[in-house]
């Protein structure tokens, strides 16, 4: 099996996997970074959202061979102490129900705020396309506004 060295959460990591292995499964099964979740495997639900060179990417659709030197950030690396403004806003708004999709939601929201520090409802609704089966959508929208009001792009 080919060997790959990749940058995850500012650390160099090496793995030996088939070239077509999606980054999602490399993170979960090889690197034990299980915060990134499997939900559909077809880029629909967004539970596997990570940051790739700063942009939100559905890691189930990114084969390891295409990762190259790109910088990968997962939920575990979004902030040092779990205190990114989006993470704080999620706690403050008590967003989660089952909690399973929220890592992907948070990664998508953090990427949105980096580009657009004060999004409107409309901008949130068109940018965040993740699925929450519990229906926490209303609180997600409020939490994004809350994070924005506290300078959420850090």
């Amino acid at each position: 099996m080919p060997k790959y060295t990749l940058s995850v959460n500012n650390k160099q990591m090496s793995v030996e996997v088939d070239a077509d292995t999606p980054l999602l499964w490399v993170l979960r099964d090889q690197l034990n970074l299980v915060g990134t979740k499997y939900g559909c495997g077809v880029a629909q639900c967004g539970a596997c959202t990570i940051h790739y060179n700063g942009s939100p990417v559905r890691s189930c659709q990114l084969p390891i061979a295409a990762v190259g030197n790109g910088k990968v950030v997962t939920i575990e690396g979004l902030s040092e102490n779990g205190d990114h403004p989006v993470q704080q806003a999620w706690i403050e708004m008590d967003v989660a129900q089952c909690g399973y999709c929220q890592a992907g939601q948070i990664m998508a929201a953090a990427a949105l705020l980096k580009k657009n520090s004060n999004p409107t409802d409309e901008e949130i609704d068109t940018t965040i396309t993740n699925i929450c089966r519990c229906g926490t959508n209303v609180r997600i929208r409020k939490a994004i506004h809350l994070a924005a009001s506290k300078g959420g792009k850090s």
Binding site: W25, I91, Q97, T129
Partner: protein, 703 residues
Amino acid sequence: MSHPSVSRRNFLRVSMIAGGGMLVGFSALSNSETGENTEATPFSPNAYIKISPDGKISLMSPNPEIGQGVKTSLVMLIAEEMNVDWQTIDVEIAPLDAKYGSQTTGGSGAIRSRYAPLRQAGATAKAMLIAAAAETWGVAVTDCYAEKGFVIYKSSGKKLSYGELATKAAGMPVPTNVPLKDPKDFTIIGTRVKDVDAKAIVTGKPLFGIDTRKEGMLYAVVARPPAHGKKLQSFDDSAALKVNGVKKVVQVKNSVAVLATSTWAAMKGRTALKINWEDASKLESTTDHEKAFRELLSKPAATPNRNDGDVDAAMAAATKVLDVMYEVPVLSHAQMEPLNFYADVRDGKAELYGPTQVPQSLVSAVAKELNIPATNVSLGLPRQGGGFGRKLRPDNGVEAALVSQAAQCPVQVQWSREDDMQNDFYRPSGMFRFKAAFKDGNLEAWHQSFASLSNGRSPDTYPAGAVKNLKIESHSLPTNIPTGPWRAPTHNVQAFANESFMDEVAHELKKDPVAFRLELLKKAKEQPVGKLAYDPDKFISVIELVAKMCNWGKTPANTYRGFSTWFSFNSYVAQVVEIQMLKGKPRITKVYCAVHCGKVVNVSGAENQVQGAVVDGLGHAVYTKLTFNNGAAVQTNFGPYNFVRMRNTPLDVVVQFVPSEENPTGLGEPGLPPIAPALANALFAATGKRFRKMPFVDDIQFA
């Protein structure tokens, strides 16, 4: 007084044998099995509470957490009566153990069934801690009180922490029937408390079954029959075994499992299997079901489920009869965390860990399948990525145990989303026929008939009791499509049909939809017809509250409203949906909900459940269906299985609870049933068209 009671020693022994990993540390800490060396004895008056001498307070949530918030709210019940500082406690999900009673999560029942017992558990602990302090100080128990994790001596203010008192309290006799607090003295129950796992969730900690990683574990995926009605004939695994990382292929009943060093390798191995499936029974299609439903509804049922007055005579005498059909599709549970389970079955023992709503029946089923005693099966419970009723069936755990047994190694069986949607116990599809008879401006008769893939029905739901001539009939269509409970089973379809039709009736009578419901409920209260299965006053309380919340009768400009109400799991909900028409396409803008569910334990969690139920119910009403073609699910993943997203979500969902000190009633499900008809009724207000078939998006594009 200083000797541990017999019952306490028994508890420690039980926990050592059956408690598994979670209580091992505790048992190992304690030497009180021998009744000697009580220096480091933790205090654990019952299965829910552990206080270590170092001050660590661990509270157990006995029911599985599937997103309904019980890991937080059940523990609030204990903490309230214990007078601990909420910020200092650790919360764990209890493993399966008989000492926790029924650990099933379903039927919106956890809070309902645990409200008194868990408060009693907390109050008992508090009483023993106070007794320990009083004995230490040589003062009367009545001169001491407990507050935020300390017992305080009233006259001097001196105090001891629960940790400092743990060892002594462990030796105190266990009192029975300790008085509970007056609700007016609650400081935790009835407040807004954030989910205890919030920080772990937002930082991606391994909380879920899918996150299980154990030494020597292989990842497995299973090839199951591709259609309901097919079974395994033969398979060739030679190509699969050549895939990088694939270690083993085993047959389990009608399925073939591929075990590998990673999930991806297992998935590739499965793709490489060559399997012949053969037909075992009829391969059914949705079009067959729809045709059969229509045939069933054209005839009366053998016996009505309820028959008040004389519907046939009222129909014959009517000046007008409304006669319409409502339809609902099959749905998948589609919980976000695809099914999975960890199992290690070797040497006649099974160690299990994974998502389930029915721990007890899962262990029984595994024991039966493996032909080993249930006492040889241990089960730990992770936080779960949604349930919605799917995991009321133990098939995921049983299958993993069989795979592990066949492969003789620990495995994590991972389902793909496609596996999940093809192998569900689906929300059954169904069709309703409704007839209403009118004469002299009055509703004279109500006749509803339901044909479905299951036989679920609630014959006594409103408006039964409020209409003098009422007949309810149901037909069940035999099928090999597996069906099962899906959030608010039966109610989720019946409310849609009933409350949409109720709006049609009100419209026919030229009556305001809210006023008309109030009129019916007044009749039910004053002159009930037959059995009355609901409390009209509580129904009225939510209708009046939601009307007040939205200022009913004063609809904002460019806005259309729909109203609906429903009673399920002993709770009452009334909802108003507001939509706006953007270039002819409806956009759901706001939803108002009034709820009567007795005492609300966690206001934030309860509000979240209702808001979520609204989004869930709206999404499924508008977008989602699952159909079958020759036994195979046509929609096997999100995308084709169209699902609500942010852009389809109301901008606000306002929830208010009718103040009540009565014991809590269900809340995980009751918010869902009334929302679909409220939307259908708003769509009628906006378009003049009735939407009688889900999903609505088949008939109207949404903005």
